[in-house]
Subunit: 99 residues, 4 copies
Amino acid sequence: MKAIVDLTIIPLGIGVSLSKYVAACENILSDAGLTTQLHANGTNIEGDWDTVFAAIKQCHEVVHQMGAPRIFTTIHVGTRTDRDQSMDEKVKSVQAKLR
Amino acid sequence: MKAIVDLTIIPLGIGVSLSKYVAACENILSDAGLTTQLHANGTNIEGDWDTVFAAIKQCHEVVHQMGAPRIFTTIHVGTRTDRDQSMDEKVKSVQAKLR
Amino acid sequence: MKAIVDLTIIPLGIGVSLSKYVAACENILSDAGLTTQLHANGTNIEGDWDTVFAAIKQCHEVVHQMGAPRIFTTIHVGTRTDRDQSMDEKVKSVQAKLR
Amino acid sequence: MKAIVDLTIIPLGIGVSLSKYVAACENILSDAGLTTQLHANGTNIEGDWDTVFAAIKQCHEVVHQMGAPRIFTTIHVGTRTDRDQSMDEKVKSVQAKLR
């Protein structure tokens, strides 16, 4: 089952600068062979359900190991059985309808 | 790794009534032995990371089998290494501070 | 326009204990006359769109005043034009379909 | 108060194709003079709190007028008082730390 996911990881108890933790997660997702797109509020991910969620679990493990005692994460997951659709196609489908 | 999760599953393409799909997911979570609390905008879940996410994957599989061609799900996940905390303790910690 | 909302406010840069900030927001929502239900991962709110969002803005203002330099908030909003539905009815609609 | 927002609008009861509704919202955000970045799972928005949330309310009104009887929306909102930060700076701050 293919999933298109938006991941936002918020480490708590380590101050206000989160970017080094987000960068560590980007590396984990990349090492997992996943297609990703970093954006201003999270990271979009396209891939097999199990691969995506194994990588997200590893992100929690690594961010804790980096010193964050608490993590709050939001995940948006889309799956569909009617047709295959990539992240790029989702964006283009909207762009084609802008006036 | 223990996780406290808030799960909102939105089946698309099946009309505006979502409750039978949500009920099917409740049964899946319950069968997985997870502690759950249904609320007006989702379901809170407390349990082992792997058990929780295996059940969420099964929810997607079952809701597709029930006829939903597309699913959009939001997941909030909290983990912490500083101490163990239950869902009930989270609520009581806030209630104790209300004026 | 009536909205049913799930609000999760995460103050950053103030350590790992968030409950006093959440309690301050509960008081704001209550003072605004809104119907609320605190749960383990947020607060469900039922009310007029403008009243709800004015209160959420006030939550951000107050949590900053309490000392949080950064806030990350998630909001789930449901609106519908086909019929009126309360938070309690949403929960009961699912419960009636559990096996 | 400046806000950086991630907006995902999910119209329900209109089938599985959501792009024309998302495009209508993009036009509303653009007409409001807001800085936006469409991505595969939503739209990032940077602007004054009141302008952003007035536009989001208008999105709900217009998507209902277009025929969607029910809407489920997720909003991520970030505010900070310690310093000004743009959406581009958030992305660059992570990219600078990738290996």
